[in-house]
Amino acid sequence: MELTELIIKGILIVVLFGVTLLIAMYSTWAERKVAGFIQDRFGPNRAGPGGIFQPLADAGKMFFKEDFIPSQANKWLFILGPCLAILTALMSSAVIPFGESIRYEDLLIPVQGVEINIGILYVFGVVSLGVYGLMVGGWASNNKFSLLGAIRAASQNISYEIGFGLSIIAILMMTGSLSIRAIVEQQHGFAWNLFNQPLGFIIFLTCAFAECNRTPFDLPECETELVGGYHTEYSSMKLGFYLFAEYINMFVSSAIIASLYFGGYNYPGMDWVRETLTGSLGAATGHNLATLVGTIVLFGKIFFFIFFFMWVRWTLPRFRYDQLMNLGWKTFIPLSILNVVVTGFGLLYDVKYASWAIVIVMVIMAMVSSARAPKPAVQPQRT
Protein backbone atom coordinates (compact mmCIF):
# COMPACT_ATOMS: atom_id res chain seq x y z
CA MET A 1 0.00 0.00 0.00
CA GLU A 2 1.34 3.40 -0.85
CA LEU A 3 1.88 6.16 1.63
CA THR A 4 -0.73 8.55 0.22
CA GLU A 5 -3.33 5.82 0.27
CA LEU A 6 -2.45 5.03 3.86
CA ILE A 7 -2.70 8.67 4.86
CA ILE A 8 -6.07 9.14 3.15
CA LYS A 9 -7.31 5.92 4.72
CA GLY A 10 -6.10 7.03 8.13
CA ILE A 11 -7.81 10.40 7.85
CA LEU A 12 -10.96 8.66 6.68
CA ILE A 13 -11.00 6.27 9.64
CA VAL A 14 -10.42 9.10 12.11
CA VAL A 15 -13.22 11.10 10.50
CA LEU A 16 -15.65 8.17 10.53
CA PHE A 17 -14.80 7.44 14.15
CA GLY A 18 -15.31 11.06 15.09
CA VAL A 19 -18.58 11.23 13.21
CA THR A 20 -19.81 8.11 15.00
CA LEU A 21 -19.02 9.65 18.37
CA LEU A 22 -20.50 13.00 17.42
CA ILE A 23 -23.73 11.42 16.21
CA ALA A 24 -23.99 9.29 19.33
CA MET A 25 -23.44 12.40 21.43
CA TYR A 26 -26.08 14.39 19.66
CA SER A 27 -28.45 11.43 19.70
CA THR A 28 -28.76 11.96 23.45
CA TRP A 29 -29.83 15.52 22.77
CA ALA A 30 -32.09 14.49 19.90
CA GLU A 31 -33.71 11.82 22.05
CA ARG A 32 -34.73 14.36 24.65
CA LYS A 33 -35.79 16.85 22.01
CA VAL A 34 -37.93 14.25 20.20
CA ALA A 35 -39.41 13.09 23.48
CA GLY A 36 -40.30 16.67 24.29
CA PHE A 37 -41.85 17.38 20.93
CA ILE A 38 -43.91 14.20 20.98
CA GLN A 39 -45.16 15.08 24.47
CA ASP A 40 -46.04 18.65 23.43
CA ARG A 41 -43.01 20.13 25.17
CA PHE A 42 -39.87 21.82 23.89
CA GLY A 43 -37.26 19.54 25.39
CA PRO A 44 -33.89 20.94 26.51
CA ASN A 45 -33.57 24.53 25.29
CA ARG A 46 -31.46 26.32 27.88
CA ALA A 47 -27.86 25.38 27.04
CA GLY A 48 -27.13 27.32 23.89
CA PRO A 49 -29.59 27.96 21.07
CA GLY A 50 -32.13 25.15 21.07
CA GLY A 51 -30.18 23.36 23.78
CA ILE A 52 -27.38 22.53 21.35
CA PHE A 53 -24.73 22.41 24.08
CA GLN A 54 -26.76 20.06 26.27
CA PRO A 55 -24.56 17.00 25.48
CA LEU A 56 -21.47 18.92 26.61
CA ALA A 57 -23.20 19.92 29.82
CA ASP A 58 -24.31 16.33 30.38
CA ALA A 59 -20.82 15.03 29.75
CA GLY A 60 -19.40 17.58 32.19
CA LYS A 61 -21.91 16.51 34.79
CA MET A 62 -21.16 12.83 34.19
CA PHE A 63 -17.42 13.35 34.62
CA PHE A 64 -17.72 15.27 37.86
CA LYS A 65 -20.14 12.96 39.63
CA GLU A 66 -18.85 10.59 42.24
CA ASP A 67 -17.47 7.41 40.75
CA PHE A 68 -18.88 4.85 43.12
CA ILE A 69 -17.95 1.19 43.35
CA PRO A 70 -20.02 -0.92 45.74
CA SER A 71 -17.92 -2.50 48.48
CA GLN A 72 -19.05 -6.04 47.75
CA ALA A 73 -18.73 -5.68 43.99
CA ASN A 74 -16.11 -7.46 41.96
CA LYS A 75 -13.99 -4.40 41.31
CA TRP A 76 -12.21 -5.30 38.08
CA LEU A 77 -15.22 -6.82 36.40
CA PHE A 78 -17.27 -3.84 37.54
CA ILE A 79 -14.89 -1.60 35.61
CA LEU A 80 -14.60 -4.03 32.71
CA GLY A 81 -18.37 -4.05 32.06
CA PRO A 82 -18.86 -0.52 30.68
CA CYS A 83 -15.50 -0.72 28.89
CA LEU A 84 -16.62 -3.82 27.04
CA ALA A 85 -19.97 -2.24 26.22
CA ILE A 86 -18.45 0.86 24.65
CA LEU A 87 -15.63 -1.08 22.97
CA THR A 88 -17.94 -3.48 21.16
CA ALA A 89 -20.28 -0.66 20.23
CA LEU A 90 -17.46 1.33 18.65
CA MET A 91 -16.01 -1.66 16.79
CA SER A 92 -19.05 -2.35 14.68
CA SER A 93 -19.04 0.79 12.56
CA ALA A 94 -15.73 -0.20 10.94
CA VAL A 95 -17.22 -2.24 8.09
CA ILE A 96 -20.12 -0.02 7.09
CA PRO A 97 -19.63 1.55 3.66
CA PHE A 98 -20.43 5.22 4.11
CA GLY A 99 -19.89 6.13 0.49
CA GLU A 100 -18.56 4.94 -2.82
CA SER A 101 -14.94 5.99 -3.15
CA ILE A 102 -12.64 8.95 -2.95
CA ARG A 103 -10.51 9.61 -6.00
CA TYR A 104 -7.05 11.02 -5.42
CA GLU A 105 -5.14 11.23 -8.67
CA ASP A 106 -5.41 7.64 -9.84
CA LEU A 107 -6.20 6.09 -6.49
CA LEU A 108 -9.74 4.99 -5.67
CA ILE A 109 -10.21 4.67 -1.93
CA PRO A 110 -13.54 3.33 -0.66
CA VAL A 111 -15.22 5.41 2.06
CA GLN A 112 -15.21 2.62 4.60
CA GLY A 113 -13.17 1.76 7.65
CA VAL A 114 -12.11 -1.61 6.32
CA GLU A 115 -13.49 -3.77 3.53
CA ILE A 116 -13.62 -7.44 4.47
CA ASN A 117 -15.55 -9.99 2.53
CA ILE A 118 -17.50 -11.16 5.58
CA GLY A 119 -18.62 -7.70 6.69
CA ILE A 120 -22.07 -8.69 7.83
CA LEU A 121 -20.73 -11.62 9.86
CA TYR A 122 -18.26 -9.26 11.50
CA VAL A 123 -21.15 -7.03 12.54
CA PHE A 124 -22.94 -10.06 13.91
CA GLY A 125 -19.94 -11.19 15.87
CA VAL A 126 -19.42 -7.77 17.40
CA VAL A 127 -23.12 -7.36 18.21
CA SER A 128 -23.21 -10.74 19.89
CA LEU A 129 -20.23 -9.70 22.00
CA GLY A 130 -21.98 -6.51 23.09
CA VAL A 131 -24.02 -8.49 25.57
CA TYR A 132 -20.90 -9.30 27.61
CA GLY A 133 -20.64 -5.70 28.68
CA LEU A 134 -24.13 -5.84 30.16
CA MET A 135 -23.69 -9.31 31.65
CA VAL A 136 -20.32 -8.70 33.25
CA GLY A 137 -21.40 -5.33 34.61
CA GLY A 138 -24.69 -6.67 35.92
CA TRP A 139 -23.07 -9.64 37.63
CA ALA A 140 -20.15 -7.70 39.07
CA SER A 141 -22.50 -5.20 40.76
CA ASN A 142 -23.42 -7.90 43.27
CA ASN A 143 -27.03 -6.75 43.22
CA LYS A 144 -30.04 -8.94 42.54
CA PHE A 145 -31.70 -6.40 40.29
CA SER A 146 -28.57 -5.85 38.27
CA LEU A 147 -28.14 -9.59 37.88
CA LEU A 148 -31.74 -9.99 36.73
CA GLY A 149 -31.23 -7.18 34.24
CA ALA A 150 -28.06 -8.80 32.97
CA ILE A 151 -29.77 -12.15 32.58
CA ARG A 152 -32.67 -10.58 30.76
CA ALA A 153 -30.26 -8.78 28.45
CA ALA A 154 -28.39 -11.99 27.72
CA SER A 155 -31.43 -14.14 27.00
CA GLN A 156 -33.08 -11.41 24.95
CA ASN A 157 -29.99 -10.83 22.82
CA ILE A 158 -29.44 -14.51 22.20
CA SER A 159 -33.08 -15.06 21.28
CA TYR A 160 -33.30 -12.19 18.86
CA GLU A 161 -29.95 -12.89 17.27
CA ILE A 162 -31.50 -15.94 15.65
CA GLY A 163 -34.31 -14.00 14.03
CA PHE A 164 -31.81 -11.28 13.17
CA GLY A 165 -29.55 -13.72 11.38
CA LEU A 166 -32.30 -15.63 9.60
CA SER A 167 -33.88 -12.46 8.27
CA ILE A 168 -30.59 -11.48 6.64
CA ILE A 169 -30.06 -14.89 5.05
CA ALA A 170 -32.72 -14.07 2.47
CA ILE A 171 -30.75 -10.98 1.46
CA LEU A 172 -27.50 -12.93 1.40
CA MET A 173 -29.14 -15.47 -0.89
CA MET A 174 -30.21 -12.73 -3.28
CA THR A 175 -26.84 -10.99 -3.22
CA GLY A 176 -24.54 -13.98 -3.01
CA SER A 177 -22.06 -12.11 -0.85
CA LEU A 178 -21.39 -11.44 2.81
CA SER A 179 -19.72 -8.13 2.12
CA ILE A 180 -21.87 -5.13 3.01
CA ARG A 181 -20.32 -3.15 0.18
CA ALA A 182 -21.34 -5.81 -2.32
CA ILE A 183 -24.86 -5.81 -0.91
CA VAL A 184 -25.07 -2.03 -1.18
CA GLU A 185 -23.62 -1.96 -4.68
CA GLN A 186 -26.25 -4.40 -5.84
CA GLN A 187 -29.00 -1.98 -4.86
CA HIS A 188 -27.71 0.55 -7.37
CA GLY A 189 -30.11 3.40 -8.06
CA PHE A 190 -33.52 2.55 -6.74
CA ALA A 191 -33.34 -1.28 -6.67
CA TRP A 192 -33.46 -1.28 -2.89
CA ASN A 193 -33.80 -4.56 -1.07
CA LEU A 194 -36.84 -3.22 0.74
CA PHE A 195 -38.93 -3.84 -2.37
CA ASN A 196 -37.86 -7.48 -2.55
CA GLN A 197 -37.78 -8.27 1.14
CA PRO A 198 -40.59 -6.45 2.96
CA LEU A 199 -41.05 -9.16 5.55
CA GLY A 200 -37.32 -9.53 6.13
CA PHE A 201 -37.10 -5.80 6.68
CA ILE A 202 -39.80 -5.78 9.35
CA ILE A 203 -38.23 -8.73 11.16
CA PHE A 204 -34.78 -7.19 10.92
CA LEU A 205 -36.00 -3.84 12.18
CA THR A 206 -37.75 -5.35 15.17
CA CYS A 207 -34.77 -7.52 16.02
CA ALA A 208 -32.52 -4.47 15.77
CA PHE A 209 -34.71 -2.79 18.37
CA ALA A 210 -34.32 -5.82 20.61
CA GLU A 211 -30.56 -6.03 20.08
CA CYS A 212 -30.13 -2.38 21.01
CA ASN A 213 -32.26 -2.84 24.15
CA ARG A 214 -34.53 -0.03 23.00
CA THR A 215 -38.18 0.34 23.89
CA PRO A 216 -40.41 -1.66 23.45
CA PHE A 217 -37.72 -4.26 24.24
CA ASP A 218 -35.83 -2.43 26.99
CA LEU A 219 -36.62 -5.01 29.66
CA PRO A 220 -33.00 -5.25 30.87
CA GLU A 221 -33.33 -1.71 32.25
CA CYS A 222 -37.00 -1.85 33.12
CA GLU A 223 -37.34 0.71 35.92
CA THR A 224 -40.67 -0.47 37.22
CA GLU A 225 -39.42 -3.98 37.89
CA LEU A 226 -35.66 -3.80 38.23
CA VAL A 227 -34.86 -0.31 39.58
CA GLY A 228 -32.33 0.47 36.86
CA GLY A 229 -31.57 -2.96 35.45
CA TYR A 230 -27.96 -3.89 34.83
CA HIS A 231 -26.70 -0.37 35.51
CA THR A 232 -28.43 0.11 38.86
CA GLU A 233 -25.13 0.35 40.72
CA TYR A 234 -23.32 2.45 38.15
CA SER A 235 -22.67 6.12 38.43
CA SER A 236 -20.55 8.81 36.84
CA MET A 237 -18.87 8.14 33.52
CA LYS A 238 -19.27 4.37 33.82
CA LEU A 239 -23.00 4.88 33.59
CA GLY A 240 -22.28 7.39 30.85
CA PHE A 241 -20.42 4.70 28.90
CA TYR A 242 -23.39 2.35 29.12
CA LEU A 243 -25.78 5.02 27.91
CA PHE A 244 -23.35 6.13 25.23
CA ALA A 245 -22.91 2.55 24.02
CA GLU A 246 -26.67 2.33 23.58
CA TYR A 247 -26.69 5.39 21.33
CA ILE A 248 -23.70 4.20 19.31
CA ASN A 249 -25.47 0.87 18.83
CA MET A 250 -28.52 2.76 17.67
CA PHE A 251 -26.46 4.67 15.10
CA VAL A 252 -24.77 1.51 13.86
CA SER A 253 -28.07 -0.38 13.58
CA SER A 254 -29.58 2.51 11.67
CA ALA A 255 -26.61 2.52 9.33
CA ILE A 256 -26.92 -1.24 8.78
CA ILE A 257 -30.67 -1.08 8.19
CA ALA A 258 -30.09 1.73 5.70
CA SER A 259 -27.32 -0.22 3.98
CA LEU A 260 -29.06 -3.56 3.81
CA TYR A 261 -32.61 -2.54 2.97
CA PHE A 262 -32.59 1.09 1.89
CA GLY A 263 -29.77 1.05 -0.61
CA GLY A 264 -27.07 2.65 1.54
CA TYR A 265 -25.57 5.52 -0.43
CA ASN A 266 -27.66 4.74 -3.52
CA TYR A 267 -30.44 7.04 -4.58
CA PRO A 268 -32.53 7.37 -7.71
CA GLY A 269 -30.77 9.37 -10.36
CA MET A 270 -27.29 8.84 -8.94
CA ASP A 271 -25.79 8.00 -12.34
CA TRP A 272 -27.08 11.24 -13.80
CA VAL A 273 -25.64 13.22 -10.88
CA ARG A 274 -22.28 11.51 -11.24
CA GLU A 275 -22.10 12.10 -14.99
CA THR A 276 -23.10 15.73 -14.67
CA LEU A 277 -20.61 16.40 -11.90
CA THR A 278 -17.68 14.62 -13.56
CA GLY A 279 -18.59 16.30 -16.84
CA SER A 280 -18.62 19.79 -15.40
CA LEU A 281 -15.98 19.63 -12.66
CA GLY A 282 -13.45 17.15 -13.97
CA ALA A 283 -12.93 13.50 -13.14
CA ALA A 284 -11.49 13.72 -9.63
CA THR A 285 -13.49 16.60 -8.13
CA GLY A 286 -16.74 15.47 -9.76
CA HIS A 287 -16.24 11.92 -8.57
CA ASN A 288 -15.53 13.04 -5.02
CA LEU A 289 -18.51 15.40 -5.01
CA ALA A 290 -20.81 12.64 -6.27
CA THR A 291 -19.49 10.40 -3.48
CA LEU A 292 -20.18 13.17 -1.00
CA VAL A 293 -23.77 13.46 -2.24
CA GLY A 294 -24.18 9.70 -1.79
CA THR A 295 -22.76 9.91 1.73
CA ILE A 296 -25.14 12.73 2.59
CA VAL A 297 -28.05 10.66 1.29
CA LEU A 298 -26.91 7.73 3.44
CA PHE A 299 -26.71 9.96 6.50
CA GLY A 300 -30.18 11.24 5.73
CA LYS A 301 -31.44 7.67 5.83
CA ILE A 302 -29.49 6.97 9.02
CA PHE A 303 -30.93 10.04 10.72
CA PHE A 304 -34.41 9.00 9.69
CA PHE A 305 -33.92 5.62 11.32
CA ILE A 306 -32.45 7.15 14.46
CA PHE A 307 -35.52 9.34 14.57
CA PHE A 308 -37.67 6.26 14.02
CA PHE A 309 -35.99 4.54 16.97
CA MET A 310 -36.90 7.51 19.14
CA TRP A 311 -40.36 7.87 17.67
CA VAL A 312 -41.13 4.26 18.53
CA ARG A 313 -39.64 4.66 21.99
CA TRP A 314 -42.07 7.43 22.87
CA THR A 315 -45.02 5.64 21.30
CA LEU A 316 -45.00 2.05 22.43
CA PRO A 317 -45.08 0.68 25.95
CA ARG A 318 -42.74 -2.08 27.03
CA PHE A 319 -43.46 -5.72 26.23
CA ARG A 320 -43.97 -8.19 29.00
CA TYR A 321 -41.15 -10.72 29.23
CA ASP A 322 -43.15 -13.74 28.05
CA GLN A 323 -44.56 -11.69 25.16
CA LEU A 324 -41.03 -10.77 24.20
CA MET A 325 -39.90 -14.38 24.17
CA ASN A 326 -43.01 -15.57 22.32
CA LEU A 327 -42.54 -12.91 19.69
CA GLY A 328 -38.92 -13.84 19.20
CA TRP A 329 -39.14 -17.61 19.23
CA LYS A 330 -42.63 -18.41 18.04
CA THR A 331 -43.21 -15.64 15.52
CA PHE A 332 -40.00 -14.27 14.10
CA ILE A 333 -38.01 -17.47 13.74
CA PRO A 334 -40.73 -19.39 11.84
CA LEU A 335 -41.57 -16.34 9.75
CA SER A 336 -37.99 -15.71 8.80
CA ILE A 337 -37.45 -19.37 7.93
CA LEU A 338 -40.55 -19.17 5.75
CA ASN A 339 -39.12 -16.03 4.20
CA VAL A 340 -35.86 -17.83 3.43
CA VAL A 341 -37.71 -20.74 1.84
CA VAL A 342 -39.96 -18.51 -0.26
CA THR A 343 -37.01 -16.38 -1.37
CA GLY A 344 -35.21 -19.58 -2.31
CA PHE A 345 -38.15 -20.61 -4.47
CA GLY A 346 -38.19 -17.17 -5.99
CA LEU A 347 -34.51 -17.43 -6.89
CA LEU A 348 -34.96 -20.91 -8.30
CA TYR A 349 -37.88 -20.00 -10.56
CA ASP A 350 -36.75 -16.43 -11.16
CA VAL A 351 -39.64 -14.68 -9.44
CA LYS A 352 -38.14 -11.49 -8.10
CA TYR A 353 -40.88 -10.39 -5.75
CA ALA A 354 -41.64 -13.82 -4.28
CA SER A 355 -41.36 -12.54 -0.73
CA TRP A 356 -44.40 -10.33 -1.25
CA ALA A 357 -46.49 -13.51 -1.45
CA ILE A 358 -46.10 -14.00 2.32
CA VAL A 359 -47.09 -10.42 3.01
CA ILE A 360 -50.13 -10.64 0.76
CA VAL A 361 -51.22 -13.93 2.30
CA MET A 362 -50.83 -12.46 5.77
CA VAL A 363 -52.86 -9.37 4.89
CA ILE A 364 -55.61 -11.50 3.38
CA MET A 365 -55.66 -13.73 6.44
CA ALA A 366 -55.88 -10.72 8.71
CA MET A 367 -58.71 -9.20 6.71
CA VAL A 368 -60.65 -12.45 6.57
CA SER A 369 -60.23 -13.03 10.27
CA SER A 370 -61.35 -9.54 11.21
CA ALA A 371 -64.31 -9.84 8.84
CA ARG A 372 -65.31 -13.15 10.40
CA ALA A 373 -64.77 -12.00 13.96
CA PRO A 374 -67.93 -11.45 15.98
CA LYS A 375 -68.99 -7.85 16.05
CA PRO A 376 -67.71 -6.14 19.16
CA ALA A 377 -70.59 -7.19 21.34
CA VAL A 378 -69.70 -5.87 24.75
CA GLN A 379 -69.02 -8.61 27.21
CA PRO A 380 -68.92 -7.90 30.89
CA GLN A 381 -65.43 -8.36 32.20
CA ARG A 382 -64.88 -11.66 33.90
CA THR A 383 -62.99 -11.59 37.13
Partner: protein, 187 residues
Amino acid sequence: MQLTNRSKEVSNKEMTMAEKMYLPAIVQGLAITIKHFFAKKVTIPYPEVKRYLGPVFRGHHILKRDEEGRERCTACGLCAVACPAEAISMVAAERKKGEENLYREEKYAAVYEINMLRCIFCGLCEEACPKQAVYLRHDKLVPIFTERDQVVYGKEELVEKMSDRYIRTNPDAQATPTEPSFSRSVS
Protein backbone atom coordinates in the same frame (compact mmCIF):
# COMPACT_ATOMS: atom_id res chain seq x y z
CA MET B 1 -72.65 5.59 35.30
CA GLN B 2 -71.30 7.31 32.26
CA LEU B 3 -69.12 10.34 32.74
CA THR B 4 -67.81 10.87 29.23
CA ASN B 5 -68.59 9.57 25.78
CA ARG B 6 -65.04 8.33 25.40
CA SER B 7 -65.12 5.54 27.94
CA LYS B 8 -64.68 2.03 26.58
CA GLU B 9 -66.04 -1.17 28.02
CA VAL B 10 -63.29 -3.68 28.75
CA SER B 11 -63.77 -6.99 27.01
CA ASN B 12 -61.55 -10.01 26.86
CA LYS B 13 -62.76 -11.31 23.55
CA GLU B 14 -60.44 -13.30 21.33
CA MET B 15 -58.23 -11.00 19.26
CA THR B 16 -58.56 -11.19 15.51
CA MET B 17 -55.55 -11.94 13.36
CA ALA B 18 -55.11 -8.29 12.44
CA GLU B 19 -55.01 -7.36 16.10
CA LYS B 20 -52.61 -10.17 16.91
CA MET B 21 -50.18 -8.92 14.28
CA TYR B 22 -49.77 -5.71 16.31
CA LEU B 23 -48.63 -3.82 13.23
CA PRO B 24 -51.87 -1.93 12.44
CA ALA B 25 -52.10 -0.82 16.05
CA ILE B 26 -48.44 0.22 16.08
CA VAL B 27 -48.91 2.27 12.91
CA GLN B 28 -51.95 3.90 14.48
CA GLY B 29 -49.95 4.78 17.59
CA LEU B 30 -47.07 6.16 15.53
CA ALA B 31 -49.53 8.33 13.63
CA ILE B 32 -50.83 9.77 16.87
CA THR B 33 -47.39 10.59 18.23
CA ILE B 34 -46.18 12.16 14.99
CA LYS B 35 -49.26 14.36 15.03
CA HIS B 36 -48.23 15.58 18.45
CA PHE B 37 -44.66 16.04 17.21
CA PHE B 38 -45.81 18.75 14.84
CA ALA B 39 -48.51 20.16 17.10
CA LYS B 40 -48.19 23.57 18.68
CA LYS B 41 -46.41 23.31 22.03
CA VAL B 42 -48.28 24.51 25.08
CA THR B 43 -45.14 25.29 27.07
CA ILE B 44 -44.40 28.98 27.60
CA PRO B 45 -40.61 29.46 27.87
CA TYR B 46 -40.97 31.69 30.89
CA PRO B 47 -38.26 34.29 31.23
CA GLU B 48 -38.29 35.13 27.52
CA VAL B 49 -42.03 34.88 26.97
CA LYS B 50 -44.40 35.92 29.70
CA ARG B 51 -47.89 34.73 30.01
CA TYR B 52 -50.77 37.23 29.89
CA LEU B 53 -51.89 37.62 33.46
CA GLY B 54 -55.42 39.03 33.20
CA PRO B 55 -56.94 42.08 34.89
CA VAL B 56 -57.79 40.32 38.14
CA PHE B 57 -54.48 38.59 38.66
CA ARG B 58 -53.19 38.76 42.24
CA GLY B 59 -49.47 39.45 42.27
CA HIS B 60 -47.11 41.67 44.19
CA HIS B 61 -48.61 43.50 47.19
CA ILE B 62 -48.71 47.24 47.25
CA LEU B 63 -49.50 49.75 50.00
CA LYS B 64 -51.37 52.58 48.30
CA ARG B 65 -50.95 56.30 48.83
CA ASP B 66 -53.79 58.71 48.22
CA GLU B 67 -53.83 61.52 45.64
CA GLU B 68 -51.72 63.78 47.86
CA GLY B 69 -49.14 61.11 48.41
CA ARG B 70 -50.15 60.15 51.98
CA GLU B 71 -50.10 56.51 53.05
CA ARG B 72 -53.61 55.22 53.34
CA CYS B 73 -52.86 52.46 55.84
CA THR B 74 -54.02 53.08 59.38
CA ALA B 75 -52.60 49.90 60.91
CA CYS B 76 -56.00 48.60 61.99
CA GLY B 77 -54.75 45.03 61.64
CA LEU B 78 -57.80 43.74 59.79
CA CYS B 79 -55.64 42.45 56.98
CA ALA B 80 -53.48 40.54 59.43
CA VAL B 81 -56.62 39.04 60.98
CA ALA B 82 -58.04 38.14 57.60
CA CYS B 83 -54.84 36.56 56.37
CA PRO B 84 -55.30 32.78 56.39
CA ALA B 85 -51.58 32.16 56.19
CA GLU B 86 -50.68 34.67 58.89
CA ALA B 87 -48.18 36.31 56.64
CA ILE B 88 -48.81 39.90 57.65
CA SER B 89 -47.47 41.58 60.73
CA MET B 90 -47.38 45.26 61.64
CA VAL B 91 -46.45 47.72 64.34
CA ALA B 92 -48.72 50.75 64.73
CA ALA B 93 -47.58 54.24 65.67
CA GLU B 94 -49.20 57.58 66.33
CA ARG B 95 -48.87 60.34 63.78
CA LYS B 96 -46.72 63.20 65.09
CA LYS B 97 -47.29 66.84 64.35
CA GLY B 98 -45.95 67.80 60.95
CA GLU B 99 -46.43 64.35 59.52
CA GLU B 100 -49.87 65.04 58.09
CA ASN B 101 -48.49 65.05 54.58
CA LEU B 102 -47.06 61.56 55.12
CA TYR B 103 -49.90 59.66 56.73
CA ARG B 104 -53.57 60.17 56.07
CA GLU B 105 -54.92 58.85 59.36
CA GLU B 106 -53.85 59.67 62.91
CA LYS B 107 -52.51 56.19 63.38
CA TYR B 108 -50.19 54.62 60.88
CA ALA B 109 -48.12 51.48 60.36
CA ALA B 110 -44.54 52.12 61.42
CA VAL B 111 -43.63 48.59 60.37
CA TYR B 112 -45.60 46.60 57.85
CA GLU B 113 -44.18 43.23 56.87
CA ILE B 114 -45.40 40.47 54.60
CA ASN B 115 -43.66 37.12 54.63
CA MET B 116 -43.71 36.07 50.98
CA LEU B 117 -42.96 32.45 51.85
CA ARG B 118 -46.22 32.30 53.78
CA CYS B 119 -48.39 34.42 51.53
CA ILE B 120 -50.73 32.40 49.33
CA PHE B 121 -51.90 35.39 47.25
CA CYS B 122 -55.54 34.80 48.13
CA GLY B 123 -56.39 38.51 48.17
CA LEU B 124 -58.28 38.41 51.47
CA CYS B 125 -56.18 41.31 52.83
CA GLU B 126 -57.36 43.37 49.91
CA GLU B 127 -60.96 42.45 50.71
CA ALA B 128 -60.56 43.17 54.41
CA CYS B 129 -58.93 46.58 54.14
CA PRO B 130 -61.39 49.35 55.15
CA LYS B 131 -59.10 52.10 53.86
CA GLN B 132 -58.38 50.61 50.43
CA ALA B 133 -54.70 50.64 51.35
CA VAL B 134 -53.45 47.20 50.42
CA TYR B 135 -53.78 45.80 46.94
CA LEU B 136 -52.34 42.89 45.01
CA ARG B 137 -50.98 44.16 41.72
CA HIS B 138 -52.28 42.51 38.58
CA ASP B 139 -49.21 43.35 36.51
CA LYS B 140 -46.24 42.35 38.62
CA LEU B 141 -45.06 39.09 40.17
CA VAL B 142 -43.11 38.81 43.37
CA PRO B 143 -39.54 38.37 42.13
CA ILE B 144 -37.60 35.17 42.68
CA PHE B 145 -35.62 35.09 45.91
CA THR B 146 -32.81 32.75 46.80
CA GLU B 147 -31.94 33.77 50.35
CA ARG B 148 -34.00 33.57 53.51
CA ASP B 149 -33.41 37.22 54.40
CA GLN B 150 -34.95 38.29 51.12
CA VAL B 151 -38.24 36.68 52.03
CA VAL B 152 -39.81 39.26 54.35
CA TYR B 153 -40.98 42.36 52.50
CA GLY B 154 -41.09 45.57 54.53
CA LYS B 155 -42.45 48.99 53.75
CA GLU B 156 -39.44 49.69 51.52
CA GLU B 157 -40.67 47.24 48.95
CA LEU B 158 -44.37 47.55 49.55
CA VAL B 159 -45.28 51.24 49.67
CA GLU B 160 -46.25 52.75 46.36
CA LYS B 161 -43.79 55.12 44.69
CA MET B 162 -45.40 58.36 43.62
CA SER B 163 -43.37 58.31 40.41
CA ASP B 164 -44.76 54.91 39.51
CA ARG B 165 -48.36 54.82 40.64
CA TYR B 166 -50.35 51.66 40.38
CA ILE B 167 -53.71 51.98 38.69
CA ARG B 168 -55.77 48.92 38.15
CA THR B 169 -56.57 49.22 34.47
CA ASN B 170 -59.96 47.62 34.51
CA PRO B 171 -61.72 47.91 37.84
CA ASP B 172 -64.91 46.41 36.42
CA ALA B 173 -63.13 43.28 35.23
CA GLN B 174 -65.14 40.12 35.16
CA ALA B 175 -63.99 37.00 36.95
CA THR B 176 -61.14 35.03 35.40
CA PRO B 177 -62.32 32.95 32.46
CA THR B 178 -62.20 29.28 33.34
CA GLU B 179 -60.04 28.37 30.36
CA PRO B 180 -56.87 30.43 30.69
CA SER B 181 -55.93 32.11 27.47
CA PHE B 182 -52.48 31.37 26.13
CA SER B 183 -52.04 34.67 24.39
CA ARG B 184 -48.39 35.54 24.83
CA SER B 185 -48.46 39.27 25.27
CA VAL B 186 -45.13 40.39 26.65
CA SER B 187 -46.01 42.55 29.60
